[in-house]
């Protein structure tokens, strides 16, 4: 065999390998999705919709109301973002615009390390430190509340939020800063009135990514939110226990009889969660698309 045909053969082998790997990855994702549908769809047929989207989740008594779980997830996700957004943007502004070089060199890897803390560790930290603190300072019956979950989730969303927001700030052209400074704006005015607004679609993307991560988070949330499936519709709900979709699936999947309505209901929750995450990602993608089309960031 001469060299050129050997090269051609190895070329072919590599290409085939990459192709198989690529297609099988997509194939597995599809299979998981089909499995989710196959196991979840029955619940939408077996249980009337007013029960399925009712306010009570007592599977042992055939109440499959997912509303408290959906609202529980949304409540802690949105609260987490409300907490994380100002902190994240402020941190990104500090790292990118204000910090001296040496501080930036230290902070950036530290933020990346934060992203790597396992969620069970954060859950443990939340249970043993944050929850008692909340119970004593706020005087509520238990420290395992939606707010505790939101705090932990905010903390988990922060590293991504900071680094994506930082990239967005970094991509704001120098010419905008120059124009602002040359008009007699101070450094702060330039940051808040020019740089951050010009980076807003990138910051929005950061928020969406953070939300996507937060809403799917399970372990830490299960450990600190108390897991009571009550409707979070009263004013004090933020400081009461709450149960999320993820925690429900994780807690109940182990003891459920395969093929039962309850089993299918848990997969149904999976479908709902998937849809919500999908919508969030879609919103993030369209924000990015809009930014490109407008040419807002050049």
């Amino acid at each position: 065999m001469n060299t050129s045909s050997r090269i051609r053969l190895s070329e072919f082998a590599v290409e085939a390998l990459v192709r198989v790997a690529g297609f099988s990855t997509i194939g597995f994702v599809l299979l998981i999705f089909l499995f989710l549908l196959r196991e979840g769809i029955p619940v939408f047929l077996q249980v009337p919709l007013d029960n399925l989207f009712g306010t009570r989740w007592y599977p042992t008594f055939d109440f499959f109301g997912t509303l408290p779980l959906i609202l529980g997830s949304l409540l802690i996700t949105f609260s987490a973002i409300v907490i994380a957004l100002p902190l994240g943007v402020a941190a990104a502004v500090f790292v990118r615009e204000v910090a001296p070089n040496w501080a930036r060199e230290i902070l950036k890897p530290m933020i990346e390390v934060l992203a790597g803390i396992p969620s069970v560790v954060l859950g443990f930290f939340g249970m043993s430190l944050v929850a008692p603190l909340i119970r004593t300072t706020l005087g509520v019956p238990t420290g395992l509340t939606a707010f505790t979950g939101a705090l932990i989730l905010a903390y988990m969303a922060l590293p991504t939020l900071i680094s994506v927001a930082e990239d967005a700030l970094d991509s704001v052209p120098k010419s905008y800063r120059d124009a602002s400074l040359a008009m007699g704006a101070t450094q702060w005015q330039t940051i808040w009135r020019v740089v951050v607004p010009a980076a807003r679609s990138g910051i929005l993307t950061a928020v969406m990514l953070g939300m996507g991560r937060a809403i799917g988070e399970t372990m830490a949330v299960m450990m600190v939110t108390g897991n009571a499936a009550r409707m979070p519709t009263t004013l004090d709900s933020l400081f009461r226990p709450v149960r999320t979709m993820t925690a429900t699936v994780a807690a109940e999947m182990g003891e459920v009889a395969q093929g039962s309505t309850h089993y299918h209901a848990l997969f149904g929750i999976g479908i709902i969660l998937f849809l919500i995450t999908f919508l969030i990602n879609l919103a993030a993608a369209s924000a990015i698309f809009q930014k490109r089309r407008r040419g807002g960031l050049r």
Partner: protein
């Protein structure tokens, strides 16, 4: 000469870190006139211009020596309020750089930063500034439109409107027409003549016709003999610099033999 001097630059040298970019620049800039800076690329015209409003301060590790007097005050003296200096000495850049916001927001930016909050007051300033920049008729029905949706020539006049909205005393322009087509260029030149009645204008240009048409005073910059940094080699009334240059190098440059 009976004209007042706005800037008096006295033995100014400038360094980017260890690299010397300007040596011993001495130059007087008359008030309410147009002063053109000409010279080959890389001789420090932009650097010099950015010394006049201390925009070079935004580049890390830069340093100036010598004095730059603005109305007899040294702007490099310790304790100078740089923010206030830049309000008095505005700048128009080589590439139009409006903010990615509406026309109105762009022009209202400066007054807002300076503390104007009343909507009607802002509207007045925006209209006056856009009229002053000869842009009002073209944008008055689209004040809410994205500034980036206008032509480059219009964007550059918008940048001029944005600068005059803060009522500066001096406007620095660094090759403001280099990205524009010939017709937009002529409009900006007309505008400069108009503005020179109220403002002191310093313009860097590569365009000899532009310098000779539009300016009152011309300063010729050149690399020093060791070719390491730039300096002013000749200053004078524009007509004289173009018709009877004193320096051989100026003559060569303005007649297009090099640069």
């Amino acid at each position: 000469m009976s004209t007042m001097l706005k800037f008096q630059v006295d033995h100014l040298s400038f360094f980017y870190g260890a690299k010397r970019a300007l040596t011993d620049v001495t130059l007087a800039i008359p008030e309410r006139q147009i002063t053109a800076l000409i010279g080959p690329s890389g001789c420090g015209k932009s650097t010099f211009l950015r010394c006049l409003n201390r925009m070079n301060d935004t580049i890390h590790g830069t340093r100036a020596e010598g004095r730059v007097l603005l109305d007899d005050q040294d702007i490099y003296a310790p304790g100078t309020d740089v923010v206030d200096l830049r309000r008095r000495v505005g700048m128009v850049f080589q590439r139009p750089n409006p903010f990615p916001q509406s026309v109105f927001e762009n022009v209202a930016f400066g007054p807002r930063v300076l503390g104007t909050t009343s909507r009607s007051e802002l509207e007045g300033i925006v209209e006056a500034s856009l009229r002053g920049a000869d842009l009002w008729d073209e944008v008055k029905d689209g004040l809410k439109k994205d500034a980036l949706s206008f032509s480059l020539g219009q964007q550059q006049r918008l940048c001029i409107a944005r600068v005059i909205a803060v009522k500066p005393e001096v406007i620095l322009m660094d090759e403001p027409c280099s990205a524009l087509d010939p017709i937009s260029t002529l409009r900006v030149e007309d505008l400069m003549r108009e503005l020179a009645r109220n403002y002191t204008i310093v313009i860097v240009t590569h365009n000899m016709q532009q310098a000779s048409r539009a300016s009152d005073t011309t300063a010729m910059m050149m690399l020093t003999d060791d070719r390491k940094s730039g300096t002013v080699i000749e200053v004078g009334e524009t007509k004289q610099v173009f018709t009877k240059p004193q320096d051989k190098r100026t003559e060569g440059y303005v007649t297009g033999r090099y640069g």
